[in-house]
């Protein structure tokens, strides 16, 4: 009458994991959280886009009395290229530069009308770069013609007729660039990287925290309802724990992947990363890798600690140390790292297991971590996981069948 087949460890883990996945996917709060996260990322992208393009306001370019003759050409070129430029007369070079520093002007044209120098704070905007490049080309062209003293008719014929080299003239024109001088500190601040780093830090913290809490609550639910006794008469404690971690982890990974995909898609779709040096694909893949590593580490701790208590009300208290452990790298990651990616605290913490999953992906997004640094941190984190598995399995097996009062951590570690 034996209808049972042998259940392998993997079979048991898979069954437990499938149940966890089904339970999560059917839960309304999970579905809503995912919708809200995806919505927030997409909406954030649009808000960022609107803010950075800041509408059709005119670029303000100052002209000194010496360069005033260029004002008309600048405005005309701007309107031809679709960049609205407004020229403002300034007293002299010094006054113009002061206004650029204040942010009153986007650029000031100094020097002479014949050889102008564009002064900007850190960088010429794409619109103005096009305007001044066009102007420089025109100057190069008229110079070439003026050198030959001819009229601007049938240019290449004229150049050839007059004994010049048309190819050289064409080359001069093509390579003509405006002379640009920056007066501000050269800044490495890249807003796109900043936002990506911030979003990565927040997303990973939320996802790991929420999944970790789900693990602890799931463990306690089985303890409270006493179903764990029934389960443990047929599967081993480590199989039950592994199935739970795997199931909730996969759901969490799917959730994070969806949000990351929505973020990357929005950024690419709106062209938010066009002006940045960031490699969004790499940052996204790293974020997912670090989610997996971070989730597994924290989920193990949460499963072990959750097994110590028998009531949902006690979950918060018993997991406080781990929550605190997560908050430290999170705060450092979102408040220090974006402004000072090379801060020693940021750099060192990003190698420490349990901290690195929340910090290293932020550094990667900010572009402050070399690939070898990321791999080293990853290796250290992975090396610690077997220790966490051992620790969690020991606490879990010893505590999960002891209902009633909270089991002391040292008792759970001591019992064999």
């Amino acid at each position: 009458m034996s209808t049972g087949t042998s259940l392998t460890s993997w079979g048991a883990i898979r069954l437990v994991a499938s149940r966890e996945i089904m339970t999560r996917l059917r839960s309304k709060s999970f579905v809503w959280l995912t919708v809200v996260l995806v919505g927030a990322v997409v909406l954030g992208g649009f808000v960022l886009n609107a803010a950075s393009s800041s509408g059709p306001t005119a670029e303000r370019v100052g002209v000194t009395p010496q360069t005033a003759p260029l004002a008309e050409a600048i405005e005309a070129t701007g309107s031809t290229l679709g960049t609205e430029v407004e020229t403002v007369d300034v007293a002299d070079d010094a006054a113009g530069e002061a206004q650029v520093r204040d942010g009153d002007l986007d650029a000031v044209v100094t020097g002479t009308a014949g050889s102008p120098t564009v002064v900007v704070d850190t960088e010429l905007s794409p619109g103005l770069t096009a305007v001044f490049t066009t102007l420089a080309q025109q100057t190069a062209l008229s110079d070439a013609v003026a050198d030959l003293g001819g009229q601007q008719t049938a240019l290449s014929d004229a150049v050839a007729d007059l004994g010049g080299d048309p190819a050289q003239v064409a080359g001069d024109i093509a390579t003509a660039e405006p002379t640009v001088r920056t007066i501000g500190e050269p800044s490495e601040f890249d807003p796109t990287r900043y936002v990506t780093g911030l979003v990565t830090g927040i997303l990973l913290f939320m996802a790991i925290m929420i999944s970790g809490q789900l693990i602890a609550q799931g463990v306690v639910e089985e303890k409270t309802s006493r179903v764990v006794e029934l389960l443990l008469s047929t599967v081993r404690p480590w199989q039950l724990m592994a199935g739970k971690v795997l199931g909730i982890g996969l759901v969490g990974l799917g959730q994070v992947a969806l949000v990351v995909l929505a973020g990357v898609g929005t950024a690419l779709g709106l062209g938010l990363v066009d002006t940045s040096t960031i490699d969004l694909g790499t940052a996204a893949v790293w974020a997912l890798v670090w989610f997996v590593v971070g989730f597994v580490s924290y989920a193990l701790l949460m499963a072990g600690l959750g097994a110590l208590v028998s009531r949902q009300e006690d979950v918060g208290a018993v997991t406080t140390p781990v929550t605190f452990l997560m908050i430290v790298p999170y705060i450092v990651g979102v408040s220090v790292a974006p402004w000072a990616p090379d801060n020693p605290l940021v750099v060192w913490l990003s190698y420490v297991p349990l901290c690195s999953p929340l910090l290293m992906p932020v550094r990667i997004a900010l572009g402050s971590a070399e690939t070898w640094e990321a791999l080293l941190a990853l290796g250290l984190s992975i090396a610690v996981i077997p220790v966490l598995v051992w620790l969690a399995a020991k606490i879990y097996s010893n505590a999960v069948l002891r209902t009633g009062a909270r089991v002391k951590l040292k008792d759970a570690l001591r019992t064999t």
Binding site: S6, L15, S225, R226, V227, L232, V235
Partner: protein, 325 residues
């Protein structure tokens, strides 16, 4: 079908010795009633059998070999503390638990449908467990112990909290499983039920078995007593050798035969000496007899005798054991 052997189990919780060499066996096709006061060690023993608790010493054997996880998967278990996922649907939950015992998805679904129907909860398959009445939750719990067609049933107080109809359904299922050759062991405080249902009974006290045997074996007394409802007074008894009246109440006289005295008379059957026939003849000679029967203690009386012996120290121990058991 095999035998479950529980051999010299010991278990200590802190300073409390919950089990002190508990031993008994449950044979194929029999229902074994496991009785004892609260904290005597019933639940501890069952949890050790299921492997959710480790014994300090002793061994549990199934089919002659130490019981392992594969064998334990073939047990149907109903824990003392009922346990099901409160927010999971009845049907899904039973299928899940059956699959954890190694059934395929299709076999698990079949079994779930069969047992929910047998136990009368088929209409609740789509409901969350927490929405069911306690009695129905108990039926689902029993279904969870049965869906994987277990080779051994270990049920901790399966009858507590059931209404009379549910008790009948549960009894029927246990009887049916035993007839299919499955050893069934269950604990209960409802001794009349145990007496009616069980083939054998074990009484545990302070972590050790004090009585194990068939109901008949347990009820057999050292001295034979017979109740005679017939001639009033005890005068007629004087004619019978080795017999004396121990109580007299109206027309009912209880006669005790002196132990071991005299040879077995004619018509001796199991549990009787045959000497009672002389008593009956004497009574009939004195007047009409309406009832003549062997006095046998009920399981309840037996249990009281056994458990209340040295009641005082035992009660103190029982109180402390309760915490861990």
């Amino acid at each position: 079908m095999a035998t479950l052997e529980i051999d010299s189990l010991t278990k200590t919780y802190g300073d409390v010795r919950a089990l002190r060499g508990t031993s008994f066996d449950v044979r194929a096709g029999e229902i074994f009633g496991f009785v004892g006061s609260n904290g005597a060690g019933k639940t501890t023993t069952m949890r050790i059998v299921l492997g959710v608790l480790a014994a300090d010493g002793g061994e549990v054997r199934w089919d002659g070999r130490p019981i392992d996880l594969a064998a334990r998967r073939r047990i149907g278990y109903m824990p003392e503390e009922r346990g099901l996922y409160p927010r999971m649907k009845v049907g899904e939950q039973l299928v899940y638990l059956a699959r954890l015992h190694g059934l395929s998805a299709a076999a698990a679904t079949d079994a779930m449908e069969r047992w929910t129907t047998t136990l009368g909860v088929e209409a609740r398959r789509g409901d969350e467990v927490q929405k069911l009445s306690l009695g129905n939750q108990q039926r689902v719990q029993l279904a969870a112990a049965l869906t994987h067609d277990p080779e051994l049933l270990v049920l901790d107080e399966p009858f507590s909290g059931l209404d009379p109809v549910a008790v009948d359904v549960m009894s029927g299922v246990l009887r049916d499983r035993a007839e299919a050759g499955v050893p069934v062991v269950f604990s209960s405080h409802q001794l009349d039920l145990v007496e009616r249902l069980c083939d054998r009974v074990g009484i545990i006290k302070d972590g050790a078995m004090v009585e194990v045997g068939t109901i008949d074996e347990l009820r057999r007394t050292e001295t034979e007593r017979w109740v005679v409802d017939g001639p009033p007074g005890a005068g007629w008894i004087g004619a019978v050798p080795d017999a004396r009246a121990v109580s007299l109440e109206g027309s009912r006289t209880v006669v005790e035969l002196t132990p071991g005295a005299g040879a077995a008379g004619d018509g001796a059957v199991d549990g009787t000496s045959g000497r009672e026939q002389a008593v009956l003849r004497a009574a009939l000679a004195a007047g009409p007899v309406h009832e003549f029967s062997l006095v046998r203690p009920s399981l309840t009386e037996l249990y009281r005798d056994v458990v209340s012996a040295e009641e005082k120290p035992a009660a103190a121990a029982a109180e402390t054991v309760e915490v861990g058991a």
